[in-house]
Point group: C2
Chain length 207, copies 2
Amino acid sequence: MYTPAHFHETDADAIEALIEAFPLAALVAQTPEGLVANHVPLLREEDALVGHIALANDLHRLLGDGAEVLAIFRGEDSYISPNWYPTKAETHKAVPTWNYQVVHVHGHISFQHDRKTKLAVVGRLTKRHEEAENGSAGWRMADASKDYLDMMLDNIVAFRIEIARVLAKSKLNQNRADADFNAVAEQMAGCGKVGLAARMKELGKNR
Amino acid sequence: MYTPAHFHETDADAIEALIEAFPLAALVAQTPEGLVANHVPLLREEDALVGHIALANDLHRLLGDGAEVLAIFRGEDSYISPNWYPTKAETHKAVPTWNYQVVHVHGHISFQHDRKTKLAVVGRLTKRHEEAENGSAGWRMADASKDYLDMMLDNIVAFRIEIARVLAKSKLNQNRADADFNAVAEQMAGCGKVGLAARMKELGKNR
């Protein structure tokens, strides 16, 4: 990913927060059938990402153990109009752009077919999202009938991506004058792009 | 992309609408430096997608003319709790899932360095997004000083992706009972996922 220094996101907490807030990754790989992407919620576990796909998904047959994959996490994004820059009227130096936050995780994938690993992965994913969505009233795996759960587990494959490299970009008008930067942060807050607005506010403290 | 028949999006209008509503594509390619993705707003033009990248972005040096690329467009997404399915209490046959809409455009890319093509691409992108955002008060390219615009044009490369194949997936609980499907549609509307709710409502008419 083209990442000029001023857009390079290096804050580990901000990177972690983006993966947490937007866990549905685009999992991309080059396969004998060409470029393939699948959209899968992932969990970060120290130096790895874990998740699962359908057994019917050819990905685990197309990729050898340790194959290179790229997991793309992306937050909110917004078109940015030059009209929003206060300096525009004076300088006439502005063109449209696009703001966004992304985290690219490059790594090597391996697939696990054993019941224990599959159960552990779906268990952790379920706990994470049920707690966030439903709190203490969250659904638990024990709420499903055992036969049904067994069938669902038989129909998936777990995977683990050992992380080789993380590249993150927060493209948030850091290259504009303070007045423009602050005005866009306000604009993002006003139109409900709270994630972009929050990160701009954080970055604004250190300008 | 693994796409079971019941999640295969074949409605041309729905596919077009998703590209229109979520134009920031993840543009993915296999390069001599590994898998690379860049996030770029694209415009559909009949059998092609057009856009531009920074001249400083190595992509146009890494990819030969006609190289395979994948442009991923993605709309809203949501974790889906089994608690939201009315049939769950009777059948105990439910596990968590994730709903989303994606369009994968596979094609072959070529880059254009001539001023005329670059100006045409940024002009069309600007018109499209300024009209949507600011209507008749939209920013126009003539609002920038000519020297500044020339410098910005010198710093970009236009590209065109000839579309080879489009694969779209709307994963929206189509495989659940009507009661579950309708309850999730309501849930999506209630939590502000209006795009997912609207597509579910459309799909619900033909169930």
